[in-house]
């Protein structure tokens, strides 16, 4: 597979110089296509202090098809589904937005940026988005609580 070379290259780049608050490892050393990403909650956000585990799955057609990003750690966020899948809606990962020249590092940084600044207009969890917009304080509280409960450093 031609994609393996690229993925290996990106992985070594990301492990050599990881972006802020992001640690990248392979879920299974033999499988390049599934990554385990540990993301620290960005400072100033209700997710601060938490460490979120993200599963990044690369399709075999990568980089022609976008990777999928899902939260293994439960998180209270308008752009992350509130089920056990925890799939994240990233604009740049939509098939028609995806560019093969985008790199995984950029995707992860974008995801972290989304933690800092949710995009309620682009939400999957409409209820949380509503709350984020109208009752930001309450949203903050719950998100903080969930972070404490689920994303504790242990």
């Amino acid at each position: 597979m031609g994609s393996q070379k690229r993925i290996a290259k990106e992985l070594s780049e990301l492990t050599a110089s990881p972006p802020d608050g992001i640690t990248v490892t392979l879920l299974d050393e033999a499988n390049l296509y599934e990554w385990k990403v540990l993301m620290e909650g960005p400072e100033g956000s209700p997710y601060q202090g938490g460490i979120f585990q993200i599963r990044l799955v690369l399709p075999t057609e990568y980089p022609f098809k976008p990777p999928t990003v899902s939260f293994a750690t439960k998180i209270y966020h308008p752009n992350v589904t509130n089920d056990d899948k925890g799939s994240m809606c990233l604009g740049m990962l939509r098939p028609d937005e995806w560019k093969p020249s985008s790199k995984i590092g950029a995707v992860l940084e974008f995801a972290r940026q989304l933690l800092a600044e949710p995009m309620p207009d682009d939400a999957i969890e409409g209820r949380i988005a509503e709350q984020y917009k109208n009752d930001n304080k309450r949203y903050d509280e719950i998100a903080r609580e969930w972070t404490r409960k689920h994303a504790n450093k242990t």
Partner: protein
Amino acid sequence: METATASASFSDSSHRPGRLRRFSQLRQNLSGHRSRNSISNRVSWLSSSLPGRDSTVTQVGNSTAPCPDSDQPTLARYTSAPTSSSRALALDNQPSSTDSARSNSPNEPSRTSNVMARLRSSSAMQGRPPRTLGRTTTPDGPTTSPEPTAAAAAANDAPAEGISTPPVEMQEGEEEANKPKQKATIRFFPYQDTYQNSRPSLPFVPVARTLPSESCVIRVGRYSERDGIPIPNPAEPSDAPVGFKSKVVSRKHCEFMFVNGQWHVKDVGSSSGTFLNHMRLSQPNMTSRLYSIKDGDIVQLGIDFRGGEEMIFRCVRIRIECNRSWQQQPNEFNKNTESLIKNLGKGDTADYSGCRECSICLGSVLRPYQCLFMAACAHVWHYKCISRLLHSPDYPMFQCPNCRAFTDLSAEVDDTPEYETESKKAAAAKAGPAPEDETEGPSRSATQTPAEAPATNAAGESSEPQEQSEGRAEEGELVTDVENLHLREEQLAEADAESRGSDSPAPNGSNDDLARSATINIPGFQPTQPLNVPPGRSSHLRADTPVRSETSDDNPLTPRNDSGPLAFDGRAGMQ
């Protein structure tokens, strides 16, 4: 008065011959069962903006004001455009304006239809704000004004125009100073919404237009035999209407115009709607305000009828490409790529440390012994990596995965044989920065696109003076030719003086200009195609779509090319 002005834009429906009446009914169905005669009563925003029965034309123009446009800083700038356009619609009732409009569009097949003439006069009016730009840059513009005189007079005596014009002039003056090279080029590509599994839209040949002057408007509507054979990619600047063979497209559907350095789209009263990125611009049969469009936007005309099973009932989805002229001119990036390619295979002298990476495999490209593919935008990949995108269902359309620029890979290649030698001479004469070498030829053919790069350069060069020469486009072929060939960025100061001097149609003068521009302007590496072109032929050079270079075929050599060496040795410039 009120109903007259309001209905002027859709009056075609009331004049429609019986044969077409069925379609109008069909479109009525599509458009939400709107009664033709009560539009202004039903449409709240229009009637609210026309409070009095005796409301004047200018108030129609003001109806653009309540539009949700407050987030646009440029609102004040371009509200003048809708104002004048609606005034033009009012003008339509005067027979004189239709006459003048027809007589002033020599580059289009003359149409006898009242509707089209009316449309044209309105488009001429919409162009007025940009036209003022032409006046500010070319002091003698007004004397040679190609605009319909009736329309111009009407525009001038209207008070609103007087108020709205000064800021327009000022702002455009600034923009002119900032980016004097920008030209109004737009391309339409068929867009298939493959990701949402929607029905296929109408296939069509990509269409490209470069406006002859900023005042021109590209009208889009249903294909009509009366328009003559459509030219998808005219070699020279053209505002020829764009027709689509679909019955969900109204005859007057929408218009594209270039206002204040920005492309805009406007629904001109289509029945089944114009959609910009899925948002409908106006209600059925209503004219919308101007909406600015940017590269990559999707404009959809109409909606599928009867499930779009038949081709003729499919909607049209257009992917817009505009504001890419910077990419089609020599810039830091493609110059750099070119020099890298030139140095390819030169062994120890070459420095590969700065070579670019292939965005697909993240490996480095631009090393010897690799099969590469370079797109017109000068992005390069390994052929193996990019081939998947090349041989896609969309072939021959190719979208650059780096910058999303579209290229038609099946377009004719503009490989005029003189190019290589001429450019070598140019480089030699100029002692250009990039030393020419033997590897140039082979490396070019290996990477497919260099032949396109000259085309882009040639196009960029030859069409950038349009801004300066706009407004005088119809002045006479010779004069425009001369202008197009010699105006350059660094020559702006003397440009006016020179062009005025060459207004006299002396062939000698134009040759001088040709030669002068050659010696002054062409950096060493650049293609020198403009030089090959005798005055009468420069129009071919203004092709806005370098990748579709049909021009090469009908651009044969002429004896004048022999003057090329003379031009390069510097003597010509000193005459």
